[in-house]
């Protein structure tokens, strides 16, 4: 008995020792510190290298990175007056609905460098957030199934299972990258008449492709991985992830035609503790040199137009807003998604329709 309890104590002791060995994540160099939340994974690794570390070096303000961004967490932080984050990344629609709910601090553009802000694409300059990068939902395909010459090049191709057979993977209607714009474009709605969205028509169009869709995904990793595994031949996916996989030798590629482009924004939660330093960080991350650095690590489009022009030639093809791609893409209209009729936004009506549609 005594032997056994000794062992038990030994085990607990061992864990205690491990606890002591754990490195402290807070740098002690400066008293000033901001917490920046992002999406984790390679995205965050790249941001750490291109933004967080150089910022700390230049200003002496340490950056602690955090993850786990959800609207629920932001609302809970603000409502409980325990705002842990100073800056976080939001999608365009998230930015709009957070601002509407009064959960964000306004960006005081007076405190930001006019020159740097003047370089940011006006589409991504918002009262409550500053664009960090462009990304897109694109038509992606498995290159073992479809060759460079023969692959789907438009949304109507994706919807045409006789011309391009094979299982599809599309995003769920309740996911951030919604299949609504593609469904309308596939149904023949011209790009310039896409907004305001005709949801009824979109779901009728989705019904046509439904038998050929093996999975409607609600996470960012699933569609690209399904193409790699050969589970699906055609997918709607995040262009950056497909570009990464293609460069690493995976049998996947994508086209810019019909891509739905949108932006990510740096935003400051209401009641954040270091407003001034947060603005300094946002300005730093908006600089052309930083954004070029980031783009070399992660194939996303800079929000800074000067950075966009300065990208090395090999990065141009993965930049949604490069001159050669810009004419082929559609810019998502986040404000149209937030538009309210009868007390409900398009976003809310879409989720209701989606939940009904899946049970038909």
């Amino acid at each position: 008995m005594s032997d056994r309890s000794l062992t038990r104590r030994g085990v607990i002791g061992a864990f205690g020792a491990m606890a002591l060995a754990q490195p402290s994540s807070v740098s002690a160099q400066s008293n000033e510190r901001i917490v920046v939340a992002s999406y984790g994974g390679r995205m965050q690794d790249s941001q750490r290298a291109a933004y967080f570390e150089p910022f700390a070096k230049e200003t002496g303000i340490a950056v602690t990175d955090a993850t786990g961004i959800t609207l629920a967490k932001i609302r809970a932080m603000v409502a409980s007056k325990n705002v842990e984050w100073d800056v976080f990344l939001a999608t365009h629609e998230e930015l709009v609905s957070l601002a509407e709910a009064g959960l964000l601090e306004k960006i005081d553009y007076g405190q930001l460098s006019k020159a740097t802000m003047g370089e940011i694409d006006p589409r991504l300059v918002h009262e409550y957030g500053v664009g960090s990068q462009y990304y897109a939902s694109v038509i992606a395909y498995n290159t073992r199934k479809y060759s460079k010459d023969n692959h789907p090049k438009s949304w109507s191709d994706v919807w045409n299972a006789t011309k391009f057979p094979g299982p599809r993977i599309l995003p769920a209607g309740s996911y951030q990258l919604r299949p609504i714009e593609p469904a309308l474009l596939a149904d023949g709605v011209p790009a310039e008449k896409l907004y305001p969205l005709d949801l009824e028509r979109a779901y009728a169009s989705l019904s046509k492709i439904r038998p050929n869709v093996i999975k409607w995904v609600s996470s960012g990793n699933a569609a690209p991985q399904a193409l790699v595994d050969g589970e699906a031949d055609i997918a709607i996916a995040n262009h950056g992830r497909i570009a990464q996989l293609r460069d690493e030798g995976a049998p996947v590629d994508y086209v810019w035609d019909g891509a739905v482009v949108t932006g990510s924004f740096w935003a400051i939660p209401k009641g954040a503790k270091n407003y001034k330093n947060s603005l300094k960080f946002i300005e730093f991350a908006s600089r052309a040199d930083r954004q070029v650095d980031f783009a070399t690590r992660m194939p996303y489009g800079p929000s800074n137009m000067k950075a966009s022009e300065a990208l090395p030639a090999k990065l141009v093809r993965d930049n949604p807003v490069a001159a050669e791609n810009r004419s082929k893409v559609i810019f998502m209209d986040a404000h149209s998604w937030a538009l309210k009729t009868g007390g409900k936004s398009v976003l809310e009506r879409n989720i209701e329709m989606w939940n009904r549609w899946i049970r038909t």
Partner: protein
């Protein structure tokens, strides 16, 4: 609660939610799915536990060790294993195509079957371990007695073994049922369009629609419905005292029925018991013994295959997941073990899980003793309260806890996380321990007390020793409940107490990081190493004891 509105009190949100027929449809199908999964798990776990019980001590230990292995692998990673196994280009389909049984790949994934399979795989251990703990305590002499009184093996099993082990089965099944309602990652990844669960819709209300009032109403409805089911089950199955009646009616009716069957059988068959002294414990014969072993092997194969798929993936040289890997390397192990942003969270998780498991098992033991021994209705009410965290979606608990923790400054600390994990761990611990205590003989403890032992001492020396297998099982699941939790940790952990599941979750947001396969493999190895060490220590201890004695 938020369900009555933000400003003032209103029933409007209740009216909205109640009148939504779509929601009710999903509500019903969620319960049906959970019920299906529970029945499948119970039907597999009972004969499995029985088969394992009859194995030699050494084989038993090995089997238990193997049963534990899947528990160390995160839900996300396991879901990917199923895709590798069952996908169109998966191992199963390739084999079937190779043999020529099917002309084209079967669509196994993304439907109800895949979801049920994934959930059963996750949840079998949750009923197996509590059940096995109860069975292990079973006194073989009772069967011998039944045999000597003329009961044939089947009757002895039905009249003696089954009734005494049912509480273990029921408490385990309740855990499975509650999890079956609450898990939403597996249905989301492996299910098709129709496999939407109620909890997924609640999550949608909270995260996408900002409609916390609706979410709260939905959570309350879920809580009330689950609570009614659980209390009715717990009472009728005899897990808790049902008011004045110490032996609940349905359970008593069941036993009576069995007795009647036994008597009829004895009359009709009039076959003298063939059971000799040796076959008492093995009262079902050699053929079924073999069947039991085969069954155990098959179940283990089912439990372990998805875990073993991860092993080759973890040694892949490819920067993305691809099965089978074309080149081999240790790069993912290197990433995992050399980066502080991976090792730090691992230690944090181990610490938090150890401390919270220790605390919650102690708390849960006291609570379970109270609930099983008190005849008052208050005890039932207390039980309902303790179990309720398992019936509310974890996301709602996370939000609620965050407000509490923020108010007292514990959000973002390890202490806060430990407390939060007490809340999630308590239902499982209480359920397992109630199952263990239900049929534990209280007389030794009373005897000890009548001989002058203090209540604590009497308990520790008698009942505690008797139900030790259940306590160990409870502690284990409390540890895993903490070690596996993403949802609550995402809210509570903040920047200073990032746990491993949070780190894993964030690393798969945009890409499936092969590091995850390495993490899983390391954890499985670590669990084997820890258990072997404790086994070794035990053996050394025994040697020392015997040499001294």
């Amino acid at each position: 609660m938020k369900s009555f509105g933000n400003e003032g009190w209103t029933l409007q949100h209740y009216a909205d939610v109640m009148s939504d027929t779509l929601l009710w449809g999903v509500f019903v199908s969620t319960f049906v799915l959970a019920l299906e999964v529970t029945i499948i798990c119970a039907v597999i776990a009972y004969p499995l536990a029985y088969a394992v019980l009859r194995m030699s001590a050494r084989t038993q230990k090995l089997v238990l060790l193997l049963m534990l292995m899947p528990l160390w692998t995160s839900v996300l990673v396991r879901a990917y294993s199923w895709i590798v196994l069952l996908g169109r280009q998966g191992i199963v389909n390739n084999a079937l195509l190779g043999i020529g049984i099917v002309p084209e790949p079967l669509q196994i994934l993304y439907g109800r079957f895949a979801v049920a399979l994934g959930l059963v795989h996750l949840l079998i251990p949750f009923v197996f371990f509590p059940l096995f703990a109860v069975m292990r305590r079973f006194d073989g002499r009772l069967l011998a007695a039944a045999g000597s009184l003329g009961a044939n093996p089947v009757v002895a099993f039905l009249l003696v073994f089954l009734p005494l082990t049912l509480p273990g089965l029921f408490s385990g099944s309740l855990i499975v049922f509650l999890h079956g309602i609450g898990y939403f990652v597996t249905p989301a990844i492996l299910g098709g369009l129709k496999e939407v669960t109620y909890v997924m819709l609640i999550e949608e209300q909270v995260n996408n629609l900002f409609n916390w009032e609706h979410a709260a109403v939905m959570a309350v409805i879920l809580l009330v419905a689950t609570l009614i089911i659980v209390l009715v089950c717990a009472r009728s199955l005899g897990l808790i005292e049902g008011g004045k009646n110490s032996s609940p009616k349905p359970a008593r009716a069941f036993v009576l029925l069995l007795r009647a069957v036994g008597i009829v059988q004895a009359r009709l068959g009039a076959r003298p018991s063939r059971m000799g002294k040796h076959s008492v414990m093995h009262f079902t014969g050699v053929a079924s013994d073999l069947m039991g072993k085969t069954f155990a092997v098959l179940t283990l194969l089912f439990l372990l295959t998805p875990i073993f798929i991860l092993l080759p993936l973890s040694f892949s040289a490819s920067p993305f997941l691809r099965f089978p890997p074309s080149d081999w390397s240790l790069r993912w192990y290197e990433t995992y073990l050399s980066r502080p942003d991976w090792t730090g969270p691992t230690f944090t998780s181990l610490q938090v899980a150890c401390v919270s498991a220790l605390l919650v098992t102690t708390l849960g033991l006291a609570a379970a003793v109270g609930v099983t021994r008190s005849p008052s209705r208050l005890a039932q009410f207390a039980l309902a309260l303790m179990l309720s965290p398992a019936m509310i979606p974890t996301l709602i608990i996370a939000v609620a806890l965050y407000f509490q923790m923020s108010a007292i400054g514990l959000a973002g600390s390890k202490a806060g996380l430990v407390i939060a994990h007490l809340v999630i761990g308590l239902p499982i611990v209480v359920l397992i321990l109630i199952g263990g205590l239900r049929n534990a003989d209280q007389r030794p403890e009373m005897a000890a007390r009548s001989l002058g032992a203090s209540p604590t001492r009497a308990f520790m020396k008698t009942t505690f020793v008797m139900i030790r297998p259940s306590i160990i099982a409870a502690g284990l699941f409390a540890f895993l409940a903490s070690f596996d939790d993403v949802t609550v940790a995402l809210f509570i952990s903040g920047t200073s107490a990032v746990t491993l599941p949070v780190k894993m979750w964030e690393s798969v947001r945009l890409e499936l990081d092969p590091t995850l396969a390495a993490v899983s493999s390391v954890l499985v190895l670590l669990s084997i190493a820890l258990l072997s060490m404790s086994e070794l220590a035990k053996r050394l201890g025994r040697k020392a004891d015997s040499s001294q004695g």
